[in-house]
């Protein structure tokens, strides 16, 4: 809807021009500027080449994890936001990718091959758990995909323990790409580039045939069938792409964290990924940027900085609160309140708000 509104005087002269992602100068400058800031961040940290101490090194880790989770959430967006299916097993597919990557790297598979193979493998696992979508929709499909969320971590903890180290952390060897060690600065840029490529690929899927088929299925599956779209095949394709994205994100997480354990991939994480999608705006290609950034910054930056003062003040105001417990409880409480607030106030998410904001900017000084 919104994509069609442009400032007066801006015209496309070819179809190719109209299909561009950034069609106006404003969009281009904004995208380039945002990317520039992200790429400049490590250079402004104490650990960077110039020794400037503006950005906390810990913050770079947060950005890395935002990039990784953006990939997982974009996969979820393609399945949930665009195809209208649901999965509660995204974290389990991340686990498949993470463990496959770790095991492949430990087995001496080259770094360029390990994450892609792991992602594809995760995709095929996702395909299996997408099979119920032939028969069931909505709530029932959520229940069916919940199976993945219980079976996969159980497999990792028990029958596969000889390879996965069971419930204990599995160390991941340091990765190197053609002799270049992937750590620190190179890891940061590597993750940003992977995230960019994944976002671009998703955006390209959305604006071509497969993406239109996905949206057709979401909006009216009877009409989709009438248009010659094999609905079941495309639902499975969505599950496959979703799980490939999750697998890639899992593999990158293994490389970034250097150690993985099954409890990083439980149901709570799956629901958190869905929460990120909803806050970001399911069905908008920019949803991961907004949703993941907001929740990750809250958890890793804002809440830790608030906690000490809360620990000091809350027990004085409410004597029944134990200062020791606040630390563990504060994040879930804030997330819970945030989720409820979003579902009530803006169920279409931050990306939708952003579109509205952009339109009002483009049509100013008029209000319509």
């Amino acid at each position: 809807m919104s994509a069609n509104i442009r400032p007066s005087g801006v015209f496309d002269t070819s179809y190719a021009q109209e299909m561009r992602i950034n069609r106006t100068r404003f969009d281009q400058v904004l995208s380039a500027g945002f990317l520039g800031v992200i790429l400049a961040l490590p250079l402004l940290a104490r650990t960077g080449p110039f020794g400037i101490d503006i950005v906390q090194p810990g913050f770079l880790g947060t950005v890395e994890r935002i990039a990784i989770f953006m990939i997982a959430v974009q996969g979820l967006n393609l399945l949930v936001g665009y195809t209208g299916q649901i999965t509660l097993g995204q974290a389990a597919f991340m686990a498949v990718g993470a463990y496959s990557t770790a095991i492949l790297l430990r087995g001496g598979v080259p770094f360029v091959l390990a994450p892609p193979i792991a992602a594809l493998f995760s995709g095929f696992v996702g395909l299996i758990f997408g099979l119920p979508s032939l028969r069931v929709k909505g709530f029932y499909l959520a229940m069916a995909t919940l199976a993945a969320q219980f079976i996969i971590p159980w497999l990792l903890r028990n029958p596969l323990a000889p390879w996965t180290n069971g419930a204990n952390p599995l160390p991941v060897p340091r990765a190197d790409l053609l002799g270049l060690e992937i750590s620190g600065l190179t890891l940061y840029y590597f993750l940003i580039i992977m995230c960019l490529l994944a976002m671009l690929a998703a955006r390209n899927i959305i604006r071509t045939r497969t993406g239109r088929a996905f949206v057709s299925i979401r909006d009216n599956d009877v009409a989709a069938e009438l248009l010659g779209i094999n609905v079941f095949a495309y639902k499975l394709r969505a599950f496959f792409i979703c799980a490939v994205y999750a697998g890639l994100a899992g593999g990158l997480l293994a490389i970034e964290a250097r150690s993985i354990s099954p409890d990083r991939f439980d149901l709570r994480n799956s629901i958190e990924l869905l929460a990120m999608l909803i806050v970001g705006g399911a069905g908008f290609s920019q949803a991961p940027i907004f949703g993941v950034s907001l929740l990750a910054l809250l958890r890793e930056t804002l809440i830790p900085s608030l906690t000490p003062s809360l620990q000091e003040w809350l027990p004085r105001l409410l004597p029944f609160i134990d200062a020791v417990n606040i630390n563990a409880a504060i994040a879930p409480i804030i997330f819970g309140v945030l989720m409820i607030a979003f579902l009530i106030i803006e169920p279409r998410g931050l990306a939708y708000r952003w579109e509205i904001f952009k339109i009002s900017w483009k049509i100013r000084p008029f209000s319509y």
Binding site: M1, N204, D219, A223, G228
Partner: protein, 258 residues
């Protein structure tokens, strides 16, 4: 007219919903390049018949042939690939999308890009998008929808939405077009426009058309042959002239004189 080859053949189809027989041993042929109207009082089984041809209902017995090929068991999406396209009585468009997106979605079966190609986009996928965009633009011109190209379909008026749905059905480049009450609920001007478009589609694109319509004056004007259903049975078939004077049809519509 009867010298043209048979395009679509419905042979002895019977469709039951529980104890109700919606279609009872209905047979008729549609010849290539004709406009056939399917008429009958409410509940006669016209839409059930179209739904059976389109594959949304599975008749308990009987067979349906398209170009001599048995399509009775094919799912709807495969029938679409064989050249069957339709519109719905109560419009099944993507109401949150633009006219353009609705029509582009209908190009699905004609596009050949692979998933990997789409992810990369530049090159093949983009060329393909542009190629199909041209086809869609031609249809937009044909149906005079230029001004609503970028409008959200849900915000359009009823008559325009019907037109967009016709456009979407055309974007499939069908050889047989099934139109389920394309003019229901329209005013006279809109009906005239729609009739003009249907005749244009038939004439310029050589599409075979099966049409359900209640406006008898209009049916008599644009249809070349008419099949009349009543209570799930075919009671008459023939040219408008023949149908006009057919006693069974008059009885079905006006009731039988004692």
């Amino acid at each position: 007219m009867s010298k043209a080859p048979i395009k679509l053949s419905v042979q002895n189809i019977t469709l039951r919903f529980g104890g109700i027989t919606a279609l009872d041993d209905v047979s008729f042929d549609v010849y290539e390049g004709e406009i056939l109207a399917l008429i009958g009082p409410n509940g006669a089984g016209k839409t059930s018949c179209i739904n059976s041809i389109g594959g949304f209902y599975r008749p308990q017995s009987g067979r349906i042939f398209l170009d001599g090929r048995d399509i009775t068991r094919l799912p709807p999406y495969q029938r679409a690939k064989l050249g069957l396209s339709r519109t719905f009585q109560n419009i099944a468009l993507y109401t949150n999308a633009t006219t353009l997106d609705n029509l582009m979605a209908a190009r699905h079966i004609h596009m050949r890009s692979s998933l990997i190609g789409e992810m990369i986009f530049w090159g093949m996928a983009q060329r393909e998008e542009i190629k199909h965009r041209r086809v869609v633009e031609e249809i937009i011109d044909f149906l005079e929808m230029e001004s609503i190209r970028k409008s959200i379909v849900g915000k359009l008026g009823y008559g325009l939405r019907k037109r967009v749905e016709l456009g979407r059905a055309l974007a499939l480049e069908p050889t047989v077009l099934l139109l389920d009450e394309p003019m229901a609920g329209m005013n006279v001007e809109e009906k005239e426009d729609m009739a003009r478009f249907i005749l244009d589609i038939h004439e310029r694109r050589g599409v075979t058309i099966v049409l359900i319509e209640h406006d008898m004056g209009l049916v008599m004007d644009i249809a070349q042959r008419i099949v009349v259903l009543d209570f799930g049975r075919k009671i008459a078939e023939g040219t408008p002239q023949e149908i006009r004077t057919n006693q069974a049809v008059i009885n079905a519509y006006l009731g039988q004189a004692e």
